[in-house]
């Protein structure tokens, strides 16, 4: 149960080469029928429609007017579009890079240090604290933080005032120079628990003798972290990085609740940009083009992530056998 899914998927794939006698009618195909119909209606048809609409000029009513690649050409010259993807890179830092890096150190410290010296219960309680924001609906996390970061009577500004740093008070979400950083901070808080939990589960399967041997050889905590922990949980690291990067590219709810992409587009992201284009500007064709570009980037990243993970697992299995 603790192996990651892709491994199982690959096993299925490998068996594909096995020759099986052809049957006139495969009774199992019937079981796929409801799923096939459901996915056709809810995923395939809408996705194809979206792609089709992206090649038209359409306001959501009347007949879409075929314009070919005009929307995409316009996107290439649209500063707002590039700006929103630039903000996506910041989100990748806040939701993938930082949580993975911090999560690795925290997981190793909790597992190796706290778990060993203070008992696994202490480690589990601490882990639960870090994981808690992950169960929160992202819209609710947004409400919590917009209350804390409020300019006049927010808790953060009140705290700064109370400790004599009143001059540091800011309009955290309303200042165009600060808003993106504030949103990033909130996203690190939201996301951190996911890598932590995955890494701690990954560490469970590392052979403790490796650590003991290294300790006997006089390797300090940091060297054990670099030379044992990191290489051992490399497959998990790739999974986490892939998932978190995709989540960062899709971020919507937090931006909607915290800033609505503002002030002045300072926190606009592709997902919010497409939402506003669809439902506020009702330029459906243009919005669909934004989503198609976003989809292509996400699918490409997924494939790269899956490949990296597969390779890491193969390497690891090669070491074991």
């Amino acid at each position: 149960m603790t192996v990651t899914v892709e491994r199982g998927g690959r096993v299925t794939g490998k068996r594909d080469g096995a020759v099986r006698p052809r049957r006139a009618r495969d009774p199992y195909v019937l079981f796929l029928l409801p799923g096939a119909l459901a996915f056709l209606t809810v995923v395939v048809v809408p996705f194809l429609m979206n792609t089709g609409v992206s090649l038209t000029d359409w306001q959501g009513v009347g007949r879409p007017e075929w314009t070919g690649a005009a929307n995409y050409r316009e996107l290439m010259g649209d500063a707002e579009f590039w700006e929103s993807f630039r903000h996506s890179l910041f989100m990748v830092v806040a939701m993938a890079a930082l949580p993975t890096a911090i999560g690795l150190v925290l997981a190793a410290a909790l597992f190796d240090h706290v778990g060993k010296h203070f008992g696994s219960r202490t480690a589990a309680v601490l882990r639960a604290c870090f994981y808690l924001p992950q169960v929160l609906p992202v819209a609710v996390a947004g409400i919590v933080w917009s209350w804390i970061l409020a300019p006049d009577d927010g808790s953060l500004n009140a705290l700064l005032q109370a400790v004599g740093l009143g001059s540091w008070r800011q309009d955290w979400l309303g200042d165009p120079d600060l808003a993106l950083w504030s949103v990033m901070g909130v996203m690190v808080w939201v996301q951190l628990g996911f890598p932590l939990v995955v890494f701690m589960a990954g560490l469970e399967r590392v052979d403790p003798q490796l650590y003991e041997a290294a300790e006997l050889d006089g390797a300090g905590w940091w060297r054990r972290f670099l030379h044992i922990t990191l290489p051992q949980i490399r497959p998990e690291t790739y999974v986490v990085l892939t998932w978190c990067t995709i989540a960062a590219l899709k971020v919507f709810g937090a931006v909607y609740v915290l800033t609505k992409g503002g002030p002045g587009g300072a926190t606009n992201v592709p997902s919010y940009f497409s939402f506003a284009t669809f439902f506020e500007k009702t330029q459906v064709g243009y919005g669909a083009a934004i989503c198609t570009v976003l989809t292509m980037i996400i699918l490409a990243l997924s494939l790269v992530g899956l490949r990296l993970q597969t390779r890491a697992e193969d390497a690891e299995e090669g070491l074991r056998t």
Partner: protein, 276 residues
């Protein structure tokens, strides 16, 4: 030497506890302020301890947004999706993992891609089609869409679990004359119950937390989920500090309940699938 080493352990623990505290401080401060009256909040600010328990603010907010109704909607939608998506996943995975139908690698790849697909690329057509079908602004439309979306992940996970299902058990049942349906309901489902339980919990919590599609699909007050109702209120920027805080607390509480009830499943389940 030993004593020194033992002493050196505590700073690390202290640092970790401090970091953990930082993670939960937002929850604590939200809870503390939700029981202050507006007058007390504006006089003492958010950092003081409350004078007493003032629950009128929460009660007013509850009634104003008809929170019972929102909870009911969320439970209804998330519950139906969880059950529906598990059933759909089992059917798909049975054909792929145990039936090993032809082309299963490609079918599985399709479900993986469907799972990765950003909802943004589906949202407008789903909105448009549901209007055509007369399902716009109904809870049923959201239930249908999420049942399918969650089943993409479920199919992917269960297919790999079922592909390792002991074949002897199935062969034995087949020899005893059990049909494919009987094998599924009498053998595969009962044996896979722990995995199905994990999926059920995950689908419930994920659907509860969804925002974009419910925001687009559910516009009338009577149909909105907790997340959408609170998110829209916050987006309108009409709430004062005490109301925002009440909204935050009411949004946090159900999540806290799930967390306490399902904590083991959630943390274990994440390891199963390296989940979303």
């Amino acid at each position: 030497m030993k004593a020194v080493r033992a002493l050196r352990r505590y700073p690390v623990l202290a640092a970790l506890c401090l970091a953990a505290l930082f993670m939960i401080v937002p929850f604590l401060i939200v809870a503390v302020n939700a029981v202050k009256s507006p007058a007390e909040y504006s006089r003492d600010g958010p950092l003081s301890l409350p004078d007493g328990l003032y629950l009128d603010g929460l009660r007013d907010f509850w009634e104003r947004v008809d929170y019972s109704r929102k909870l009911l909607n969320s439970v209804l939608i998330s519950g139906s999706v969880a059950v529906g998506a598990v059933v759909l996943s089992v059917l798909n995975a049975y054909a792929i993992g145990i039936g090993r139908i032809r082309g299963r690698t490609w079918i599985l790849a399709f479900f993986v891609l469907a799972d990765m697909l950003p909802q943004e690329a589906l949202v407008y057509p789903v909105y448009y089609l549901s209007k055509q079908a007369g399902l716009y602004d109904t809870r049923l439309s959201v239930i249908i869409v999420f049942t399918v979306i969650q089943a993409a992940f479920g199919t992917y996970l269960l297919s790999s679990v079922l592909s390792r299902f002991p074949r002897e058990i199935i062969e034995a049942a087949r020899i005893d004359g059990a049909g494919t349906w009987q094998v599924l309901w009498r053998i595969v489902v009962p044996v896979s119950r722990p995995t199905l339980g994990v999926l059920l919990v995950f689908f419930f919590v994920w659907t509860w937390n969804e925002f974009l599609l419910p925001l687009v699909m559910l516009i009338s007050n009577d149909n909105q989920t907790v997340s959408v109702a609170l998110g829209v209120l916050q987006g309108q920027r009409l709430m004062d500090a005490t109301m925002t805080d009440a909204a935050a607390l009411l949004g946090v509480l159900p999540a806290l309940v799930f967390f306490l009830v399902f904590q083991r499943t959630l943390t274990r389940g994440i390891a199963v699938g390296a989940v979303k």
